[in-house]
Symmetry: C3
Subunit: 275 residues, 3 copies
């Protein structure tokens, strides 16, 4: 089947993990509908039903994919309820998934052109379950879309898309209260502090407090940091993270992605300069 | 190389996990033999050497793949012994793997056309080890098959295929004794009770007993259930599962896939109706 | 885009795991540059920043891939420092990654033709971070290479490649002191003893000592071994491993891949012959 509208690979993002057949079934469904579809695993390790984590991973990945990529994002705690299933067309991409916020940060940053409410059941599997819309709705729609079907064929255009906002740093005395965006597989703790926001602190010296621990070192590379010392580094996505060379910062600090009780602050402290 | 007999993607199902190179090597072998092969990961998280788990995942996935798909299923505790290596041609699919039962539920449900005993070593790797037939036999055969080789070329037709039966519910007073088919990554406990078998219980009210806990609620969707309450839901594969909203039912009930000592029963109980 | 120089699939080997978007981003970058690229996951479960583990997995996998395969190996604790980024052309393959030893065992065994220092930034992403060269340098170079760019275009040829040697067995009385190469997902403990080196021991009887435990059984297949008994078996990569049927040898022996304090010895012992 020719790509009538250009190259449209499908990037899958789910919280399905790797110990079940859920992801494999999505791929089977896609190949069933469009044998030539190009399928890429973006990530299946989103924390279970964690819309914010999925939104974060989608947001930091989007720009690295080619124009025309279809992101099929299935983090869907409201499956089977009346939350909408949507297809979002942005300047460069398509995003398919539940309208629960998971698509918002990536889609809104790439200029939303239109939001389609997925209602045309001819593009779904014949039987739609109440618990697995990834298989029954989102993968089939992504497959048809990758085969060149026009977005408008899947349903009516609607006006809104559910928003999701990562928390912003909040002012606190002469510093900021931060929050944890993400903990990666290396144990690095991603903060909601953009590298540019951090630069004034880095230049004048700073003190980060997290769970009774203070951190005042900043390095450009992991290798430059001394071993066994917690430090701050610019991550690869434009934010700042707390790292521990040859160690797992999150374990050492006893910090968990889901733990909402952790307070992180940063304040200027001229005793410490860039390491 | 043209597909002489249509589209034949290869779906890989193994217990190899993701921390070794085993799966990658299978893919290298396939591409070596058939550079145009279309390879899909069905699942590599089958519990180690657990034929039943592999058979279950293959069984619930089969129908979602396109006609002509080659399922290469490597869950093979008897590797190197005289268990047969086979290729099963069914109405719609091909299944390649050890003849130890892992192929049975899926193959038999799709109408077995013929079973080929894999003996023609020209289609294997030149050296066949005693411990890794996935690499040395199954992946090469799947690759040649995907390139259009006729199933009959791989060996002689044989009459039988080793059976594997999931345990059926057993009568118990006015209810049933059930067993656990599967625990998924979300902690949902899949029971060997088909949705249709469950419906009479759902309508008149029921009581499920599992490890000193009783469950009497049934919901159509995860979202409809109250938090922190164990409940029953129809899963996406036609069976019934025990779930815990925003929690991990298996952990809460201290139930393990391998734990054969768990007794699960269901009985009618009109005190409780559908929630 | 035609493959001007033959079939060049890209095999990815990283320590990125599966809970982040790192691997997905590599794939996005590759497809962005070369939409027709054929991408294969070799393994993303390399122990974090463990160059030896990465080198081992690459070494045992190489030969199973077709000629022309581009191995993109990102195990890179020195990212952002002055360690070189290189492309190695061998008799049959291309290897792209940091020049820290991870490429050495595989590359040197396949006859190194030339080593290119990756310096031509026109083949990198426009902005190169200090922490994610997989995304910014290695994946882009692999993608351009897969599209047919000549290796010489990526930089100047240099003379050396950083070596990495797995420890060899050392003489010890009338036996050998061994070390652990690898522990796989099944718990099998891979030793640095080639099958041929082991054969004399197997024939005359032997005693392996590891963490206060002795092992003297050798079997050709997992199935031939009795249950709950530690034994030795030739692995699928040409070495010898310690296994436990229906068990996890490494857990039972309390052995960890990273634990350098474990002493393993083998000595002849005629009391025990092949089981």
């Amino acid at each position: 089947m020719p790509y009538s509208t250009g190259f449209r690979p499908i990037a899958l993002l789910t919280d399905f993990g790797h110990t079940d057949a859920f992801v494999g079934i999505l791929k089977g469904v896609i190949l069933f509908i469009h044998p030539e579809a190009r399928i890429v695993d973006l990530c299946h390790g989103v924390s279970h039903q964690d819309i914010g984590h999925g939104a974060h991973l989608l947001d930091i990945s989007l720009d690295y994919f080619p124009r025309g990529t279809i992101f099929c994002a299935v983090v869907d705690p409201g499956v089977g309820t009346n939350r909408r299933a949507v297809l979002v067309e942005t300047r460069d991409y398509f995003l398919v998934g539940p309208d629960n916020g998971v698509l918002w940060p990536a889609a809104s940053r790439n200029n939303i052109r239109r939001v389609i409410h997925l209602t045309r059941s001819r593009y779904f599997l014949p039987r739609v379950s109440a618990t697995f819309h990834g298989r029954d709705i989102f993968a089939p729609v992504a497959a048809h879309l990758s085969a060149g079907i026009d977005p408008g064929a899947f349903g009516a255009e609607v006006s809104g898309l559910t928003r999701f906002a990562f928390p912003e740093p909040e002012p606190f005395e002469n510093g900021l209260i931060l929050s944890i965006r993400h903990i990666d597989t290396f144990g690095n703790i991603g903060l909601n502090l953009a590298s540019e926001q951090f630069m004034p602190f880095a230049e004048q010296g700073f003190l980060i407090r997290i769970n009774q621990t203070t951190i005042n070192r900043y390095y450009d590379t992991y290798a430059a940091a001394p071993e066994k010392t917690l430090f701050v580094i610019a991550d690869s996505a434009g934010f700042v993270e707390i790292a521990l060379k040859k160690g797992h910062a999150a374990s050492q600090l006893d910090v968990d992605k889901q733990d909402t009780g952790v307070t992180v602050t940063i304040e200027p402290c001229s005793d410490f300069k860039k390491g």
